[in-house]
């Protein structure tokens, strides 16, 4: 399985990426929504995008809307991974087309539970 981790923090990209690699994912990274769209347009089609909300250039919500506007990326599962935990923000992200929401800080177990809910836990990884 393939994942694209989108966060302006290299530290957070490393944390999320390490967890996903431990689960067996092939991981690519992007520092903002614009860079992430470039990665998708290059032909890297992930099973999962983990998306921070607050980023420069293009934020996570704009990225979600851009992906959802392109039928070619309909199969990509979008999960917000963010400190934005107000109900209104969660509703806004889900309404825009995000599938799941993981609030920072989180544990590897919390990430595994979300992936299990989404049916994106690779074979051999126990839920």
């Amino acid at each position: 399985m393939r994942a694209l981790v989108i966060d302006d923090s290299r530290a957070m990209r490393r944390i999320v990426g390490t967890i996903l690699k431990d689960f067996g994912y092939e991981v690519r990274e992007a520092g903002d929504g614009r860079q992430a769209l470039d990665v998708l347009q290059e032909g890297f089609t992930p099973d999962l995008c983990c998306i921070d909300w607050n980023m420069p250039v293009m934020d996570g919500l704009q990225f979600v809307m851009s992906v959802r506007a392109n039928p070619a990326w309909r199969q990509v599962t979008l999960m917000m991974v963010t400190t934005e935990s107000e109900t209104g923000q969660i509703v806004k992200a889900l309404a825009a087309g995000a599938h799941e929401y993981l609030i920072k800080p989180f544990t590897a177990d919390a990430m595994r539970d979300k992936l299990a809910l989404l049916g994106l836990l690779p074979e051999g990884v126990t839920a």
Partner: protein
């Protein structure tokens, strides 16, 4: 029309809540078994701060302050680097900024909303506003001084700088 006074952070947030948030942030970002211990130690002579702003019914910033050497050690822990890998200033800004960001986001979630969170900044902490609009938690990590400060903005609406705290 009468403008209501903004509530100071001391009426919105207690130290225990800040500690509870730090208790979740440290193991997740800094590493398993790591903790922000709320026992103050002597403050460092030279400090570095990372912060995020909160804009909404309450306006201010969440600031994480420590010595540059502590910031470097925190960065090594967050990035899981081991010697001989050396972290640079960009790494420190990124890791300390993300710690401030996650602390700030979680503190924002317990304040009246809706509010907006700014992007992380690093350097000399912004000046504080009203004296009673500061919630400060002094502590340590691996024996080194760390301070989490939730402070009102100097130009926050309906506030008076350096006003005498209300009982």
């Amino acid at each position: 029309m009468t403008l209501s006074r903004a509530q100071p952070i001391t009426q919105l947030l207690d130290a225990e809540t800040v500690q509870n948030i730090a208790d979740e942030v440290w193991p997740s970002l800094v590493g398993d078994g790591e903790a922000f211990v709320p026992v103050p130690v002597a403050p460092p002579a030279e400090v570095l701060s990372a912060w995020v702003t909160i804009s909404g019914p309450w306006n201010g910033a969440v600031v994480l302050t420590c010595a540059p050497a502590t910031a470097e050690a925190l960065t090594e822990s967050v990035l899981m680097t081991r010697p001989p890998t050396v972290v640079d200033d960009e790494d420190v800004a990124d890791a300390l900024g993300e710690l401030a960001n996650v602390l700030g986001g979680n503190i924002k979630s317990v304040l009246p909303g809706p509010s907006a969170l700014g992007l992380p900044q690093i350097g000399t902490a912004p000046a504080t506003g009203r004296l009673d609009d500061v919630r400060r938690l002094d502590g340590q990590w691996r024996g080194q001084s760390l301070t989490i400060t939730v402070q009102g903005a100097t130009g926050a609406p309906h506030t008076d700088r350096n006003e005498v705290p209300q009982p």
